[in-house]
């Protein structure tokens, strides 16, 4: 058994199996074609299942895949077949909830693409080279957004990206003047 729990990949796909953001930590899929083939088969295998309330699980090519869907977004986390399923699902839940927090509840493909930088940073904060860095969604989201968003600003009427932009400009100004 792999002595340290490890994640082989994290995938965020759209409702047609297209990539939004993916990150591979294992050499099992050496080429982009191999990666796309894996994404296609996992998407086909899972698309009919109902993984909207609780995370679901499947075996694929000797891997365990846990997944969860919301709107037109499909979240996947893959690990080896002897991995503890609950560790993988904790990672999935962390990613899923963190994205929810970062997108302020508007979790769909459009928002995700508009805030792709946040999603990518989010992935970066969850896993480093296959090793789990953090699984607590609020901590992850905090690390991604804390320095970008001024939490005191009235954000309710703005979209998150506008808010971020404002916040960044605000920050830059204060830094430049200071």
């Amino acid at each position: 058994m792999e002595s340290c729990p490890s994640v082989k990949n994290i995938l965020l796909l759209d409702s047609e199996g297209g990539r939004i953001a993916v990150k591979y930590y294992s050499d099992d899929w050496a080429t982009n074609n191999a990666k796309e083939a894996f994404e296609k088969s996992i998407f086909t295998k899972t698309q009919k299942t109902n993984a909207r309330t609780e995370a679901e699980i499947a075996m694929l090519e000797n891997n365990i895949v846990v997944y969860k869907f919301v709107q037109d977004l499909h979240f996947f986390v893959t690990g080896g077949d002897d991995e503890n399923e609950l560790i993988l699902s904790t990672v999935l839940q962390g990613f899923f909830d963190a994205v929810g927090l970062l997108l302020r509840g508007n979790v769909d493909k459009k928002e995700a693409l508009e805030n792709l930088d946040l999603i990518l940073l989010c992935l970066d904060e969850i896993i480093d080279g296959g090793i789990i860095l953090e699984t607590d969604a609020s901590v992850i989201a905090g690390k991604v957004a804390s320095h970008s968003v001024d939490s005191g600003a009235p954000l309710s009427e703005q979209t998150i990206s506008q808010a971020l932009a404002t916040a960044r400009e605000h920050l830059t100004r204060s830094l430049l003047s200071g």
Partner: protein, 885 residues
Amino acid sequence: MALYVKKDDDRDEEAEYSPFSGIEKGAVLQEARVFNDPQLDSRRCSQVITKLLYLLNQGDSFTKVEATEVFFSVTKLFQSRDIGLRRMVYLIIKELSPCADEVIIVTSSLMKDMNSKTDVYRANAIRVLCRITDGTLLTQIERYLKQAIVDKNPVVASAALVSGYHLLQTNPEIVKRWSNEVQEAVQSRAALVQFHALALLHQIRQNDRLAVSKLVTSLTKGTVRSPLAQCLLIRYTSQVIRESSMNSQAGDRPFYDYLEGCLRHKSEMVILEAARAITELSGVTSRELTPAITVLQLFLSSSKPVLRFAAVRTLNKVAMTHPMAVTSCNIDMESLISDQNRSIATLAITTLLKTGNESGVDRLMKQITNFMSDIADEFKIVVVDAIRSLCLKFPLKFRTLMNFLSNILREEGGFEYKKAIVDSIVTIIRDIPDAKESGLLHLCEFIEDCEFTYLSTQILHFLGIEGPKTSDPSKFIRYIYNRVILENATVRASAVSTLAKFGAMVDSLKPRIFVLLRRCLYDNDDEVRDRATLYLNTIGGDGSVVETDKDVKEFLFGSFDLPLVNLETSLKNYEPSEEPFDVSSVPREVKSQPFAEKKAAAKKPTGLGAPPAGPTSTVDAYEKLLVSIPEFSTFGQLFKSSAPVELTEAETEYSVNVVKHIFDKHVVFQYNCTNTIPEQLLENVTIVVDASEAEEFEEIATKALKSLPYDTPGQTFVAFEKPEGVPAVGKFSNVLRFIVKEVDPSSGEAEEDGVEDEYQLEEFEVVAADYMLKVGVSNFRNAWESLGPDFERVDEYGLGPRESLKEAVTAVINLLGMQPCEGTEVVAANSRSHTCLLSGVYIGNVKVLVRLSFGVDSGKEVAMKLAVRSEDEAVSDAIHELVAN
């Protein structure tokens, strides 16, 4: 602009907005020039980096030049003090994975960030720098990394620890120096820091068993904060248990209490890890299992699919070795058959099939029937396999199970699935005589509408063997003849053979079969016509081809026990002449694995005189070699050559192995010697054999090896005479005797004078198995019945306590030196009994078949029933003597 629209056709149709629609690499690379602006627009720069990352993420790749260009302009962004932008810069640097000389450009900037007051900078700079750095740079930053490991900010400490974990692969000696800091971090109050520190510490010490054991001992008593760290500790603990149990069997299992305690942990992740660790303990007792099974049972009714899956998967594994322990979960398991998640349902069913009792079979099958229609083929195959083993376990239930199999056989399915079903039915027919008639009819119905040629021919062949033995063989004829009318040439040819078998075996059907076969003479396929002609002429009994009825059957339907490879080689070697090709001249020995050849081929090209490496098999090569030596050329035909037996340990000065060549009146030992000392040349190499413990053998000749230079294998031989045809056994001890000469390593010249020397080798035995040829038969039952019970000898033996049934079976097979048939050498993991079929040819060309039935009781006492049939009474007795000794 074709490029502009290419990717986004379908997106446009949906009129869906994406910030990246129409994105194009060239344009983005142009945009990246903003990084060089004197007045940086950090928001714009962030957007461009996001676009670059998007492209990379979609599978676009940058050329070397493009990547370098982007990398250099990105380094300019370190001037900006915008935190968000800096984070994106870190990300893109990691993605671009710059080469060594580029890394230098950012090193100083990253080192500055590593010592920054901002925690986010510190943590990320460490991760980036460790990702892209090489060994030389690492020594420069080592000091900072050690500090970071014990940093009071947990994010920074974790970043350093995780980076250390990765660096250990490439620069172990550096990371190992951080042990003290890592040890300190293990005590950290921050949950994840503890997790990362524990992982790294274990990785550093993994080869030091004592240190790992100490680590586990201290931590299992102390407090481990995060569930993840607890999982790690459980893994390390089971590792320690595994290693310690190898040394001592007695007493309580160490750390079991800790594992059991973890079953009450508040985190499900830890509970699962502990339960799984307990179920995987080697030689786990049912008392130890019970608490783990109890928690897993609770998981079975969880609302979370992941939890149900994890539990049922673990229980499924337990059911293979301890089916009784899992029966308590059967009720919960049954409700999972209708689980939405098909993986869970399949696992539940196969577990139930393993643990179920006879009375529950009918109910279970009903539930499965509903379930089968909506799962994928891969799952169905798993279920079919499980049903086959269930049927063999409860033979009385074959009716229900056979019905189920025949029903699913009629439904849609791919080749692998259908093959699994057919194989299962065939196995059941073979093992349960009552199931034969109905099973054969199911198969007949299946081939009426079968799209797979392979399966049709297999079934036809099987029908030909089993069909004539049923009470009413005539009812199968219609199905078989239909194939001749309706199918492709391959299937038609098989059907013709099957018809002929019926004709040959059942006299009453002969006239009708002949009518059918005559019609086949007009088939438009050569093979079909040829077969029909052959069968009509032979079975017709006009005496033109073979004399008696028995010979006809033997000739047409007897098992073909020549290895096809051997036949092929012999046919290739045959040169057309007056003398017809003689099938009996084909060697029957099953080729010993090409392992020896591979080993030989892997060695360096050998010098002169070495046998040429080629496609010749080892047996042929031996035979040629022996015939070429005048002393041995009169010994007649080689009966068997054993596999090489090593007479020296690996890595000694001289390596020697022996091959035993058995002839009718003689044995020849071929000693293969290799000199592994470059500074030595051996001359006049002989083996002095002491045969005082081998009374029936008398030494008659030796053949010395003139010279044995470094790393060039050579052979020396010793020949013995023994009573003709008698399987004499004995023990031989050996001494290697030679003259050793020093060799000047620079010039390769040997000195003039040598010293006589000896080298003790290990002893070896000639055993009864050396007189047995491994010759397989394709159909054991046929061969068994054709040998008849005349010289059958049956007896029972107690083999005493054995490690496992499998070990006992392998030991007996090796003792007899016979060829296992029909895969019966494989013993199912948890079975209490096993039947093994062996075949071989004993010295004097006597065909021998053996049927072994093993049973094992709870005390691991193995009992064995040995039934031998052979062509010679004395040989049957000899086999029994082999075992009795």
